[in-house]
Symmetry: C2
Subunit: 295 residues, 2 copies
């Protein structure tokens, strides 16, 4: 049971956590900090928070658990802002989608209290944002990854683990760098590849026609290119090293594929395509949604 | 009304066309040619064809319309096989997904009768293949592109146009090269990008973990990497030039994006991501399916 939880950032991510914990009866009071009056009012009206605060010093008073649910681009500043008010009996965690830079910023901002910071990443979301988008079941059966460092207090880790479990999530822990590489591979790289293709086609003289003939395969492939540009800029900047490593690897393999097309090397093409199909089919069993035509 | 239609290849594509034309009452008799006895028997039993033939000379007797619905890799050989039996009163069309090479092969194989060949591409399909996968409404509201050359007989073009319209399709005509570039952009390139990523991840030591953490965004993006490897090898080989042109363009733009990440150039990232989002949102209005989280 958390006595007083402070949400810094009361949007889809923070708001849904609060609603889930309230529904599970695992929190007594939720205080919400936001700079925007409208956000505070909405969150109060929706029962997401019990008390709204627009001042960090006041917000940090007597809280047991602080959850940083601000955009990645605001994470370092937010950590610096709370730094002076952190006490030994608080646990701090965040919901940022790349962990290396957040951990570095937390080390800098929290000093001796860094050990009470538990880096976290709930792998969940919808296309909407803001308190109105929040709902209690967002984390149900979704993964939350915690990336404690060697200095992280075991009790603090346990409390954050319990909090997310109470919210319905499947919680696991892994190394910071491992997390960032894993997410670069499964999420950041696909987004960059899709953004790059759609942005390229958007510059085509025949863009209207191109999009008119784009069918189901393109629609699925490019769905993630409709994602929030600010969020993705921040993720690219925050997880730079892991993304660049994988992009380099991707392009090396693409060069081989391009060469195979050039040289009409059907065997190489078959080997790559079969390896891909086999790996994907082993993970996702949704044949009815797969379109083997070229549409 | 087509009096006698010959299907060469009785799978999803050819079979569905036959069923649609029969349902619309636009064909008197459908003859089916396949080398495989099982395919012929199934097609007969399912009412897709009225007569099954395993000999090209016999199959070509007294037909008005010949539809080549064989895999891309078999198109050139099939054209060579029918060449000697084509007469001036026949119309020939195909269903291949890249047109440049088919047109070149048809020119070679059909000689003086090349003018009666109408290159076509129904942009439709499912994950299944074979006669059992065929259904009458496959082409309903799907696009069919015809790519006549300067030599194509206007009456032949009209007949093929009418046939696909009768099958429920939205038919348009465009230049061969234009078609191949358009399909490379909207279909072939996305498939190659997705195949390449999944094939790369499949070689990762942590492939099982990577796929375990892959969420909705990855699932949609990579769906097309479950497509038929043989079909996609053939498409890559058949539409080589258009694909290589666009791949080169794609990689040039990716190099700029990579450089922007390297140099922390947030403005460049924003410009690319916003352009992509705007273009996609203008075409596909499915916000409820878009996931703006990084999952």
């Amino acid at each position: 049971m958390i006595n007083r939880l402070l949400l810094i950032g009361i949007g889809l991510i923070g708001g849904s956590l609060s609603l889930a914990l309230k529904q599970a009866g695992k929190v007594n009071e939720v205080v919400g900090f936001s700079r925007q009056a409208e956000t505070r009012q909405q969150a109060l009206a929706l029962g997401i928070i019990d008390k709204a605060v627009d001042n960090i010093a006041e917000a940090m008073q007597d809280v047991d658990m602080v959850v940083l649910a601000v955009p990645m681009g605001a994470m370092a500043d937010t950590l610096m802002a709370i730094g002076p008010y952190v006490t030994a009996d608080m646990v701090i965690t965040d919901a940022g989608s790349a962990k290396g830079q957040v951990v570095a910023a937390a080390k800098l901002a929290l000093g001796e209290h860094f050990k009470h910071f538990v880096p976290g990443h709930p792998i969940a979301g919808t296309e909407k944002s803001g308190p109105r988008a929040a709902f209690a079941s967002l984390y149900q059966d979704h993964r939350v990854v915690l990336t404690p460092t060697e200095q992280t207090d075991r009790k603090a880790l346990e409390q954050v683990h319990n909090m997310w479990t109470a919210a319905g999530a499947i919680v696991s822990t892994m190394d910071v760098m491992h997390h960032d590489r894993l997410l670069a591979a499964t999420s950041h790289l696909p987004h960059i590849l899709a953004f790059n293709l759609v942005a390229m086609l958007a510059q085509d003289d025949d863009v209207d026609e191109v999009l008119r003939y784009a069918a189901g395969g393109f629609k699925d492939f490019s769905r993630i290119a409709s994602s929030n540009p600010v969020m993705w800029r921040d993720i690219c900047l925050s997880n730079r090293d892991a993304i660049l490593d994988l992009l380099t690897q991707y392009q090396q393999q693409m060069n081989l594929l391009q060469q195979a097309i050039q040289q009409q090397d059907g065997d190489h093409l078959m080997a790559v395509f079969e390896r891909a199909k086999q790996a994907r089919d082993s993970r996702f069993n949704d044949p009815s949604l797969i379109d083997n035509s070229e549409v």
